[in-house]
Assembly symmetry: C2
Homo-oligomer: 198 residues x 2
DNA sequence: CTGATTTCGGTACACATGTACCGGTCGGTC
DNA sequence: GACCGACCGGTACATGTGTACCGAAATCAG
C-alpha cells in the first residue's frame, strides 16, 4: 500500500468515521468529553465535518448509539452461531470466554455502551434503541438456554442477561487482573443452578 | 416555622448541600451537566461557594461519590436489619420490594450511582470507593444468604449482587410501569434456583 | 472589645463550546 | 466544456466554563 495513509474518506464514509470516533471518545473519556471539536480531532477531520453531517450534538449521540447497537447485535448473533456447539456442551465456559474476550478486546466499547444505556434512562428518545439491544440479547440467550435444556428459558434468559451485565460492570470498575478467573466460578454456579430441572 | 425558608446554611453544612446538589444534577441531567454554575444554582448558592469548598471539579465529583457511597451503605445496612426477618421467610419477596422501592423513590440517585460507577472504571482514583461500596453489598447479601441456608453463600452473594444491579439497570432504561411485577418472577426464580441444596 | 481567621459573594478572564456562515472544491450530468 | 448540487473547511461569534481574585462580612480567640 503505497502512501500508507490512504485517501481521506469523503461522503457518507465520513459519517461512520465520525460516529466511531464519538464512541471511542465516549468510552475513553466519558460523556463530558464528547464535543464537536474533540470528536472531529479523534476522527482526523475538521470541525465543520461534524456539524455538516449531524444537525446537533444530540443527533450525533443518538446516531452513535444506533450504530453501536446494530454493530454489537450483529456481532453477538454471529458469535452465538459460532459458539452454539460449545454452548451446548459447556454453557458456563462459553459465557466466561465471551465476557473475558469482551473485556480484553475493548473496555472502551463496553464503557461507551453502558454510558449510552444510562443516558437512555434519561432521554426517552434513546429508549427504543436500548430496548432493541436488550431484546436481541435476551432472544439469543433464550434460544441457547432452550437448546441446553433449560426448564424456564424465558424467565432465565432475562435473568441471565441481567447477571451478565452486572458481572461485566463489576469487572469494568474493579479491574480484576484476570477477569476469566473471577467470572468462571460464578457462571458455573449460576448455570448449574438454572439448568437443574425445576 | 416563621419565615419558612430558614437561615441559609453556612460553613461545613454548605459542603454537604453542594455535594447533594451535584448528585442531583448528575442523576437528572448527566455528567456533562455537572458544572460549577449548575451545581451552585441547584444548591441555591452563589458560584463562588463551589470553588471555595472544592479545589476542583474532579475533587467535587470524587467527594460526591464518597458521600453517595457512605449514605447508601448506611441505608442498606439499616434496611438489612429491618428486613432480616422478612428475608428469612421470603427472600425473593423482600428483594423485590427493596428494588421496587429504590426505583419508586429515587431513580435520580440510582442514575447518579451508576454514572459514578462507570466513571470509576475510567478514573482509578474513584475505584476504592466503588470497591468499598460493592464489598459492603456483597457482605450484607452473603450474611442474608447464609441465614437463608444457602449452600454457596460466598459465590452466590457476588452473583446475586451482580444480578440485582443488572436488573435495576434494565428497569431504569426500560421504564416498566410496574417494576415490581416485572422483577418478582425473576427474583423468585433466581432465589429458588440458588437456595436449592447443591 | 480587638484582631485574626474563616467564610462569603461578586467579578474578571482566558479559554472551550455549539452552531452559523460562506467561499471554495469535487463529482457527476447534460 | 459548462453547470449544479453535494460536500468541504476555515472562520466568526455569542455564550458557557473552570478558576483566580479581592474586598466584605461573619465568626472566633484573647
Amino acid at each position: 500500500m503505497p502512501g500508507a495513509a490512504g485517501r481521506p474518506p469523503r461522503g457518507e464514509a465520513r459519517r461512520a468515521l465520525i460516529l466511531e470516533a464519538a464512541l471511542r471518545v465516549l468510552g475513553e473519556e466519558g460523556a463530558s468529553a464528547v464535543t464537536h471539536r474533540r470528536v472531529a480531532r479523534e476522527a482526523g477531520l475538521p470541525l465543520a465535518a461534524t456539524t455538516y453531517w449531524f444537525a446537533s450534538k444530540d443527533e450525533l449521540l443518538a446516531d452513535a448509539y444506533r450504530l453501536a447497537a446494530d454493530t454489537d447485535i450483529a456481532r453477538m448473533r454471529r458469535l452465538s452461531t459460532e459458539y452454539a456447539e460449545r454452548a451446548r456442551a459447556d454453557l458456563a465456559g462459553a459465557l466466561t470466554d465471551l465476557l473475558a474476550a469482551d473485556l480484553a478486546a475493548s473496555r472502551t466499547s463496553l464503557l461507551a455502551a453502558y454510558s449510552l444505556w444510562i443516558e437512555a434512562a434519561r432521554r426517552p428518545a434513546l429508549r427504543p434503541i436500548e430496548e432493541e439491544w436488550t431484546r436481541a440479547y435476551v432472544e439469543v440467550v433464550e434460544a441457547v438456554l432452550r437448546d441446553a435444556g433449560s426448564p424456564h428459558p424465558a424467565t432465565d434468559a432475562e435473568l441471565l442477561v441481567a447477571t451478565l451485565d452486572g458481572l461485566l460492570l463489576a469487572q469494568l470498575a474493579l479491574a480484576h487482573p484476570d477477569p476469566a478467573a473471577a467470572l468462571r466460578p460464578q457462571l458455573e454456579r449460576l448455570v448449574a443452578a438454572l439448568l437443574r430441572a425445576g
